[in-house]
Amino acid sequence: MLSLSHLHKAYREPDARPVLQDVNLELHPGEYIAIVGESGSGKSTLLNLVAGLELPDSGKILLDNRDLTTLDDGARTRLRRSRMGFVFQAFLLLPHLTVLDNAALSLKLNGVAHREAQQRAHAMLEAVGLSGLVHRFPGTLSGGESQRVAIARALAHRPQVVLADEPTGNLDPGSAGQVLALLREQIRSCNSIGILVTHSMAAAASADRCYRLDGGVLRPE
C-alpha cells in the first residue's frame, strides 16, 4: 500500500511559494490513478517525492508501512530500483542497446542473471506486442513503439509502483490511445499501483480515478 500524508514541499526561492500543501493520498495494489494540473502545479515534484528522488519538507510517504522520508539516498535508490517502474515522456531508451537489452535493463539492475533477464524481458515485450522487434535498436522505432519498449522496461521487474510522467506527450493521438490502454492493462496484470501524471484530460480518462493538483493542493476531480 502507498500512503502519502500531509506532504509539504517548498523550494528555497525568494518568494518561497509552496509547491505542495498538505497532500494526502492512499493507494492500494491494482489501483491506477491520474493526476492532472497546469504546468508548474507541482505534478513532477509529487512524482519525484513518491520515487524518493526528492524529500518533502514535512509529511510521510509510506510504502508497505516503510516511511521513505526516513531512508537515506542509497536505501531510497534500492527501493526505487526494486519496487518502482518509470515511463517518461521522451522514452529515454538507451540508443546503443537493443530493444531486448533496453527492456531487460531494470531486471539486470536488480541483479537478475543475464539469461533469465532476457527471457523475462522477451516475455514482457511479447506482452506489449513487440516480439518481432527485439533485436532492433531504438533509433529505428516509431514513437509508439519506443514508448511500448519503455513500458516493457518499467514493468519487467514487476514493480509495486509504476510512475508515468506524461507518457503520451510525444505521441500522435492514435499511438497515444494504444499506449495508454497498454499501460493500464499491464499495471492491472502486475497488480501494481499506477500513477499517471498528465495535463491531458483525455489521457487522464484512462485511469480509475482522477485528481487535480492546483496551487499545490491535491483534490479529487
Binding site: L53, R78, L94, D101
Partner: protein
Amino acid sequence: MIRAAWQALVGGPLRSSPGRTLLAVLAIACGIALGFSVHLVNASAAAEFRRAALQLAGEADLVIRGPRQGFDEMLYPRIAGLPGIAIASPALEFQASRTAAAPALKIIGIDALRARELQPALFAGEALPAIDLFDPDNILLSAAAARAFGVSTGDRLDFLAGTETVRLRVAAILPDGAYRQPLGIMDIAAAQWRFGMTGTLHRIDVRVEPQADMLSVQRSLQTLLPAGVHVLSPDAENRRSAALTRAYRTNLDMLALIALFTGAFVVYSTQTLAILRRRMQISLLRALGVSRPAVLGLLLGEGAAIGAAGGLIGIAAGGLLAHQLLAASGVDLGAGYFRQMQANLHVEPVTLVFFLLLGVVFAVIGTLAPALEISGLPPAQGLRAGDPAGQTPGSRPLRYGLAAIAGAALLLWLPHPGELPLPGYAAIALLLLGSVLVLPPVAIGLLRALPLQLPMPHALGLARLIATPRHVAISMSSILVSFSLVVAMLLMIHSFRTSLDTWLHQVLPADIHVRAASSGETGYLTPAVQQRITELPGLQRVEFLRSVNLLLHPQRPAMTLIARDPGDGGFARTLPLVDTPPALPEGSPPAAWISELVADVLQLRPGDRLLLPLGEQPQAWIVAGIWRDYARQNGAIVIDRADYIRLTGDLRINDLAAWLAPGVTVEAAADGIRHAIGNGSALDIADTRDIRRLSLAIFDRTFAVTWALQIAALAIGLLGVGLAFSAQALARRQEFGMLRHLGMTRREIAVMLAGEGALSSAVGALCGMACGGVIGLLLIRVINRQSFHWSMDLAVPWLLLPLLFCSIVLCAALAARCTAVLATRSEMTRAVREDW
C-alpha cells in the same frame, strides 16, 4: 548575418562553457611550449657554439688544422712564404690538464704579433698591450675562464705537463665580450716550452691576399700539408665542430615536434567533439540560410583563434621553460656537450612567428576534418535527434591507416641524408598516424570479443563504448599516441642503459684505472714512471694506454687513436666487438680495431685497408674488427701499443689499468702509484666501480629531459581522455537521469564511467604498447644507429611497462569519472524532462 552566426555558433557556446575552449587552447599551448622551448635551447646552444667557434677563428680566411698531437712547426714558414698568403698566424691549441681534479682549460698559444690582425677579439681595448705576454709564467684568461675557476688577476693556476706542475700567473682577464668560452691565452713560445710541445703547432690561421683566388690558394696549401693536416674555411671548421652535437640537437628537435604532434591531436579531438556537440546549432544556421562556406569559415576561424591563443601562451610558457632549463642544466640540457659554456637565450622574431603560425596551422588542420564533415551534413538530417557519434566507422580510415603503416615500412629503405635520420622520423610519424586510423575498428573488435556478461554497470559502459566508436576512438587514440611515445622512449632508454652497463663492464675489466690527468691532454706518464708502476708489489698486472688524435676526415672532428696492450686473449676478447671478427689472411698489415662510427663514416668493413697518419709516412692497417664505443662520439681506433711504439717511438702513456694483488685495497694501491710518480697529486686514480657508477649517473642526467617529454606526453593523452568524456557527459545527462530513476546510485554511475575510461584506455594503451614497441625498435635500430653510429641490444623494462600500463589505466578511469561527474554536477534527475 555572419556576426549573428558567429554569435550563435561560437560566442554563445564559448560564454556558456569556456572550460572546453580553454582545454583546446591549453593543449595547443602545451605542444607549442614544449616545441618552442626545446628549439630555443637548441638554437641558443647552436648559436653559442657558432659564435664561440667563429670568434676563435677570428678573421682568418682559412684554417690549417692538424691532429691533437699537432704537426711540425716548420710547416709555418713554408705556408707564410707561399704566394697569395697575406698573414699566417701559428697557434697551439690544447686542453691543458689541471693539477688536482679541476677541469681542464683550453689554452691557445699564439704569436700575438701575427695574430693581431686575425684576432680582433684579443686586441679589442687595451687589455693586451698592458701586459707582458712574452713572460712564460703569464697566462691571460677569458672572463668565462676566470669565472669558472674563480680567479682574478695576479692569482696562480697550476697545470700539468706530463706529471710536472706548470704554475702560471693570471696576467690579465680579457673583457667579457672577447671570448665567450673559458680559455687561456699564452705566448706560443711559452706554451711550447712550458707544456713540452716544442717543434709542434696545432693550427695556422691564414689571411689570403685580397686579390688572390681563395680556391687556388687552398689547393696549393693542401699540397704542402702532410697527411692528417687539413686546410678548412672557418665555416667548415665551424660545421665540423657543430657536427659533434648536431645529431643530439636534431633528435631533441624531433622529440619536441612529436610533442607538438600530440598537442595537435588533442586539438583535433576537442574540435571534433565541440563540432559534434553543436551539430544542431550548425544545422539550424544552415536551415536559416547561412551558406556552407560561411559555416566552414566560422568553424575554421574559431580553430585559428584557438591556435593563435594557444600559440601565444605556448610561446610565453616555452620561453620561460627554456630560460629555466638553460639556467638549471646548461645549453645541452645536461648532456655534457658544451661544458662550461654560458648561453644567452637566443630568440629571433622569425622563430616567434613560426611557432605562432605552427599553433594556428595545427589547430586549423585539427578543425578541418570535423568542420568539413559537419558543414556537409544536410541540415534536415542534422536537426533530427540522434547521435551522429553513434555511426560505425567506415572502411576508409582502415584502408588509409594500413597504407600509412605500409608507407612507414617503405620509408625505412630510403637512404638518410648525412647523419639526420629523417626517413626514420617520418616512418615514426606515419606509423603513429596509421595506428590512429586503424585503431577504431581494431578497438571495437577487441571490445566485442570481451564477454558481455560483465557485472551490471560495466556491461552498460561496454555497450556504450562499442556503440560510440567516434567518441571512444578519440579517447583511445589520445592514449595510444601518448602511450606509444612513452613506451618507445622507455624502451630505447632502457636498452641503451642496459647496453651501456654491459659495455662498461667489458671495457673496464681492471680494478682501478689511472689517468695522468682527470681531463685535458697535457698530462702523461714517462717510461721511467711506467717502469716504477709495473714494479709496484700491490699490482698484479698493469696495462698501459696511449691515446692521441687523428684527423682522418676533413669534415669531421678528430678521431681518437688508442694504443694499448691487447690484454688476455687479444683484442678479439677484450674489446666489446659487434660481431665475431673474421680470420685475417697471412702477411696482413698490423690490425686496427675501429669503432662503429669509424666504420660508418669511413665506410670500412673488417678486412678493409686503412691508412693512418702515424710516424713519418702514412701506414697501411687492416681493419680487424668493429667494436661498440659509447665513450668517444667522434670515433676511435684501437691498435696494439707495440705497433704504435714501433712506428712513432712515442713511449708516453695517458692511462693505465691495473689489477690489484689479493688483499690490496684500492686506497693502498693508489697511494703506491702516487708515491711511485712523486708528483702524483694530479693523477686521477679511480675505482672501476666508481667509474661505472659515475658513467651511469651521467647517462641518467643526459636523459633526464626525456622524462619531461614523457610526462608531457602522458598528460596530453590523459587530457584527451578527459576531453572525450566531458564532451559526452553533457550529451549523456538524460541517460544518467534515466538510470537514476531506474535505481542506479550516483556511485554506480561514476563507477560505470570509470570503467568506460579504464576499458577504453586499456585498449588504447595495449595498442600503444604494440605501436610504441615498434617505434622503440626504430629508435634503437634506425635513429640511434644513423645519428650516433652506435648500436645497442634490445632490453625491455618488464617491470616498468606493466606498472605504467596500470597507472595510465587508473588515471584514465579517474579522468573519465571526474570530468563526467563534473559535467553533470547539476541535478541529473531533472534532465529526463529536457527535450534535447
